[in-house]
Subunit: 193 residues, 4 copies
DNA sequence: CATGAATGAGTCTTCATTCAT
DNA sequence: TATGAATGAAGACTCATTCAT
């Protein structure tokens, strides 16, 4: 099918661009580089994306949506709220391990400099926080979590595992799971004596 | 005095640049704009910074160091570990309220796209986490916080208040203090029922 | 063919640049002018030469090599050493008549301001002096020229025709050949009574 | 006296500029460098010369006039035409040995790219060729030189010693005098067998 | 007189985008 | 559909010159 070929090339470009943009600023990545990395001619890029700017936006969306899709799947598993939150964290670890360059586009450019994507990004963050918030809400309903502002708790929990699992701070491969467990435990038990 | 004049101009440029870079990408800010914003000739910028790139790096450092300096001061206040952590959070609120454009350069570009600054930035983050970690350690010594990995806790706590106080999510001015208290309380008591 | 097109464009640029640089200093010639003179876009120049500086160097080499190639051809003609030397001089006249702008880059910037080309230029001058020196050597062997340091003689002869045929001193078109003959005669007979 | 101090500074700047321009292109030498080399403030240069361009022109004139003044003096010595021509050549050697950087401005930028100086330079060259030509003319009158176009002979002779004594070709210090004698001998006796 | 910080006009160079092949 | 040579708009940066001290 024609569409399949087209979609394959789109993803090929996005993945190549993802790797290149990782750790570089927008203007440090040349369209020619992306083309080369995607093993295509420069002109071909423009068959799939109307501009470099749009390509970057698409990459941003592609990464974020991939993350949220996987997170949703991970959080959907049955179990206690603690198990489900842990699943969210495990999913995070797996994602940033497998798609480290994509991870980059999700929370770390979180105040996207792409003005055009601002509201889109807010919505996606909302979706993610809602996902976590719902798990917390259910935990409250189940009596596993004390009554609280689930929205705030979702943000706090998300922030804490993001910070604790920063691949620049720890060895994700080796210590990821352990830290995931610890940070989740901390969220449930608190630090107080 | 000569040195004073020079330092004043440096800061004048940095502050002007900070306001301009805020919410824009590196290449969207023209050196001429910075010069105009700093009320100087374009050439004068180059008397103080060898390149736009270097100016950006210096801005990054300037902002980060300002933040850490203020955080250190805030955390130094006497009191319980809870009060001191709260002081760190209050400082954060004040900083991103007063210097919202500078805040931008601190945790939100936290995987600095500026390759050259990577290790520098790691060090600064370490310094900040150590600052928080020491407060937690003292809390443990005092019996206010249960025995735990203070480093991990520091990262988790920092992550949670950063996420919860995101100015794009909440009205900092209005709800900042309340949320600061809540997120700190959550850190101490945990979410568990 | 592709390569042909590329070489054509290179030469087109070099010739255009040659005409422009003639009688102007490096910084008085704008890249845009060269592009316009070569009937190309400014960016195209940079497809062929990495910088204006390099383009100038290439022009220098191009001109010098063209001169030497033609001189070699002229000097290769059969005949007495006097005839062959005269051929070298005639070639010089023809060259600076037809390619006056290229001539400019050859002996008149003879202590090349282009530091990078210094040794390259020395080599080329050596080649030219050797060419003349060999003719003289053969003249000695044939008994047409008395035994002497052919290297020195080559330099002296070259210097004398260069100076005597300076287009700013004489009317090359009108008097060139006559003066060429005279200066060659002077070289053979000497000025002594 | 005031004027003495002023003249001293002028020469100081010219000499410093001469050393810097030597082997560099006009735009490669910065006014700041000249100032530093002359051990003055940048602004001070402008007290003595209205522009960098004019400074360069003055340097050019200064060098050329110094050369011609010395050549005239050298050629004025009593003796045979051969001795006097040799004196001109010896003077050349001494000049380019003592003032190598000034020599640079004389015959080697002989088609001055400074359009404004063109006619001035032609005149100076005329003066020099006349100087040599007069010696030749007197030689003819004395019967030391055969009847000939003294103008052409002057150019040829000048060209030959310039080329033969090129400091990039020979060791002036060591071989200068010998080559001077040889090139003069060649001029008188000719190369013919 | 001497200075050097401030200036901004002027230019090289880059690179996203086009389009003829 | 794929390509990459050609393009030129746009911007960082330089540096001669000025002028307040």
């Amino acid at each position: 099918m024609k569409n399949k070929r087209i979609e394959e090339n789109r993803v090929k470009i996005l993945e190549a661009a993802g790797r290149l943009f990782y750790g570089k600023r927008f203007h440090q990545v040349k369209v020619g580089e992306i083309a080369e990395a995607a093993d295509m001619g420069k002109g071909t890029i423009y068959e799939y994306f109307p501009s470099k700017e749009k390509l970057f936006e698409e990459l941003f969306k592609y990464s974020t949506e991939k993350y949220i899709r996987l997170a949703r799947k991970a959080g959907a598993k049955k179990g206690s709220s603690r198990e489900r939150l842990l699943a969210i964290v495990f999913n995070h670890i797996e994602f940033i391990t497998r798609f480290s360059h994509l991870d980059y586009y999700i929370f770390h450019i979180n105040r996207s400099n792409i003005q055009e994507l601002h509201s889109w990004f807010q919505e996606k963050r909302d979706q993610f926080l809602s996902l976590v918030g719902e798990i917390i809400d259910e935990g409250i309903r189940r009596g596993e979590i004390r009554a609280m502002d689930s929205r705030l708790a979702a943000a706090a929990f998300t922030g804490s595992f993001l910070a604790a699992l920063d691949p620049f701070l720890i060895d994700l491969e080796k210590d990821g799971k352990k830290i995931a467990a610890e940070v989740t435990a901390l969220f449930f038990q608190g630090a107080g004596a």
